[in-house]
Amino acid sequence: MIATLRKFLAVNVILLFALLLIMLICLSFGTVRIGLSDVFRALVSGLRDGDPGGGQGYFTIILSIRLPRILLAAVVGGALSVAGSIFQALLRNPLADPYILGVSSGSAVGAVLAMMLGLAATSLGLPLASFLGAIGTVLIVFNVGRMGRRVHTNTLLLAGVIINAFFGAVLMFLISISKTEALHSIIFWLMGDFSFADYRGLTLASPYVLTGALLAYFLARRLNLIVAGEDEASQLGVDVERVKKYAYALASLITAAAVSVCGLIGFVGLMIPHMIRLILGSDHRLLIPAAALWGAGFLVICDTLARSILAPMELPVGVVTAAFGAPFFIYLLKTRSM
């Protein structure tokens, strides 16, 4: 689809509307089913009075439990989808995902260490440890994969594979020596977990995700040219090395921020950009915002399923995204050449 300003506006208004609708509907689902009119009432009173206070029981469920969780799922879903779009463009490979440079294994090692050392109990311990683990690993991968001042895609990918494998082993080591009580939360974290979601997590991750995504969007048109060939992009006036560096940094930051508050959620960052490309084409000026909005909605739906299917038991949300993601890719593989 040829990108124009009108299409940009139309697509984003539609998707934003859809996202709000999804969030509203998902607020009513859960262990207790709450009618849409009560959801509205709770939201209105929450907006008016700021605090649910001593209102009815469902007010608290909606405003203190479900709303922060849904908002967090939206932020994380958008973050992973934007990061996925950017990594796929930079590596010129539609099968790249946000974890490809080691964010996953690095943040996992950080998070598991925090859980084992009892830091997870403090309010900042877990997210901070996982964030530092993620950023640290990306820096290692980037410096291993760099050749002088240029960044070569293949070397970078190989560096990512090696470092990921190494930290994977470190992770296995940590898990094998950890106490049984910690295992449950570790496993949930590794498959993505929103059950601890609150406004604190939201305020922690959102600034990084939103600023990162906004800054990354300014690279959108130049990413189009890089996707069509790096030498060609240079020839068309793009400072390729600089754009790549910024884009890698921003996408890693966005991913690390998302991962630090909810653990590792697979398939979203891989699948959502694909879906959008099937419909809107590859122009990143359309792709990035559309992926952000649809990724947000998608993860809100997945998390709602994760907490309602077996209620009152919860599934890790990564199980649900994988249940959608794997068949989707098998379908793509069988019907079209990627």
Partner: protein, 261 residues
Amino acid sequence: MIQAEDLSFRYDGDWVLRDLAFSVQKGDFLGIVGPNGTGKTTLLKLLYRLMTPQRGRVLIEGKDLTQMTRKEISKKIAVVSQETQINFPFVSLEIVLMGRSPHLKGLQFERKGDFEIARKAMELTDTFHVAHRSFNELSGGEKQMVFIARALAQETDLILFDEPTANLDIRHQVIFYDLMTTLNIENGITVITVSHDINLASEFCKNIVLLNQGRVFALGKPDEVITKANIEAVYQTPVLVDQNPETSAPRVTLLRGKTTP
């Protein structure tokens, strides 16, 4: 138009180009020929500063390339390379519109004028009928034409071609070189092309640079450069050089089994 002043370049090991100098006048149609590994493509990459020479400099309209930003260069020089693989779904028109990039700012979307320029470029290269077809589904010849359209959309006075016909059959080779000639004569675009095919270059180019081991071996009109002595000296292969009976351009024919080892 463009001047190479004593260019020397090496990747890591030996010098690929050594004190290479020549200048191209506005309106020229210059062919760069020479054996494999003699630095043709490297030279081309220096001419649009994809790489920077260790010694010497390139001037475009009297301005040193290293003093210009990428964007400024991209408004002066367009490049058509060999066929490149694109792993993402773009339609041809999107590829051509990318040629407008040097003229856009930040996040700007292309405007009516940009679409008009892209349309004209596609009409000129006879690709407008595939404008909304997926680029990856086009034939090799069509893809190359789309890349020319992109270069035209860039609206530069100079277009560099890097072995543009390497993967094309003879029909598309002729179509391609005919188009380059049209652009050169009717649109006043200065053309520099690297060519593997001495006869194509001889037939179409106004001037030819013959490179050998990173230096200019000969420079001039095809009948001055494409001579038996020059070709045999540079390629180390016995050849027959006569004239195309229709155009009297020099014509090189290979002789079998007499190559000096």
